[in-house]
Amino acid sequence: MLTMVAERYPRIVHPSPLEQRLMAGEQGALREVFDAYSPMVLGLCRKLVGAEAEDVAQQVFLDAWKSRGRFDPERGSLGAWLARIARFKAIDHLRASSRRPSVPSAEVGESLSVEPDVDAVVDQMVLTRALEELPLARREVVELGFYQGLTHPEIAERLGLPLGTVKSHMRRGLEALQRELEGSRGD
């Protein structure tokens, strides 16, 4: 039986029960989403728009509820989807208020566009969060490879793992991160 199920899941896509309840529009689902994700959303909005973070975060959750039918768990987690909404709400807000984003980019030039700054902040947060959600072994391999710059053989030696296992962990880890990044972006 498990073989049959595994064939139905060529990739690991596992919408959480909360994601399922949100998609179904169940009573109380938005409150649960808020409880689980508001620290992330508010922190992200604070970084992007500063003092008006609460206003933008409110828009994020209201939009999440209204557009819940468009959430597709195969394109990324609920957290990535909320980050996607925050990305666009922050851009709208910054354009409307004609302010510079509170990200360290102003010295780069006089670009009128806020999207590159917002995108960079959101992308980095989405991948940091997705990395923290990886199974420990995959997380360790990716962190050693990218945060510490070790090569595959060096990681294998550091963790005492076969080289093939390190490569497998790296590929699986990066696939998961890629999926989350895509889920946090527009169509």
């Binding site: 595994a6 109380g28 509820w65 199974p135 696939e175």
Partner: protein, 199 residues
């Protein structure tokens, strides 16, 4: 950088990762934030108001159903006697992992403490090009509804279960043998399994 050359299709992810961890600081929202959202939903009408009170009652109902389903599923799915032994009724909970057909001689135990899962696997000797992987399964109505990967295991492993995983549903610990082929899907070949007490 060797890693980037090895996996060129992940170039953008790699570039972002190399910037290091994000400095976004998670922030506990003030009570007024949810109140504002709830107020806006009420104004919008359409029955979208998020009622906090209903959640607990619904969870209790789901738990009762899930308890019955899981008990049936354990018999239908596993096909071998599951030795379920709980040592103490309070946290942490420990369950024996029973061998599945074809993998007699395998065994182990899983201990759940909050969202920390410790798994000990015995009798396992992976062949060249194979490894073992730990999963949580969501079984309902005798069918596997969903599954989530926790990580690889040799003889023992510790796993942090994400808050997004509802342990009242994903309560079956499964260890599979996986070919080292880079495919993250479950191989369909499980060696041991055990059912945790429902949260």
């Amino acid at each position: 950088m060797a890693i980037e050359h090895d996996l060129p299709e992940f170039g953008e992810v790699a570039a972002i990762l190399r910037k290091g961890p994000s400095d976004v600081v998670y922030e506990t929202p003030p009570d007024t934030l949810w109140a504002a959202i709830e107020s806006s939903l009420d104004e919008g009408g359409g029955g979208a108001r998020a009622d906090v009170v209903d959640i607990a009652a619904r969870r209790r109902g789901r738990l009762r159903i899930a308890t019955a389903v899981a008990a049936i599923a354990a018999v239908l799915l596993v096909g071998v006697p599951l030795t379920l032994s709980l040592w103490g009724s309070s946290s942490p909970e420990t369950v024996e992992l029973a061998a599945l057909p074809g993998y007699e001689g395998f065994g182990g135990k899983a201990e759940l403490d909050g969202r920390d899962l410790a798994v000990d696997l015995t009798g396992a000797e992976p062949k060249q090009g194979e490894f073992y992987e730990v999963w949580l399964l969501d079984i309902e109505g005798g069918e596997l509804r969903d599954l989530v990967a926790l990580g690889t295991i040799d003889a023992s492993g510790h796993y942090k279960i994400s808050q997004s995983v509802d342990l009242s549903r994903y309560n079956t610990v499964d260890v599979s043998v996986e070919p080292d082929d880079g495919n993250p899907a479950h191989s369909g070949v499980s060696v041991v399994r055990g059912e945790l007490p429902l949260a």
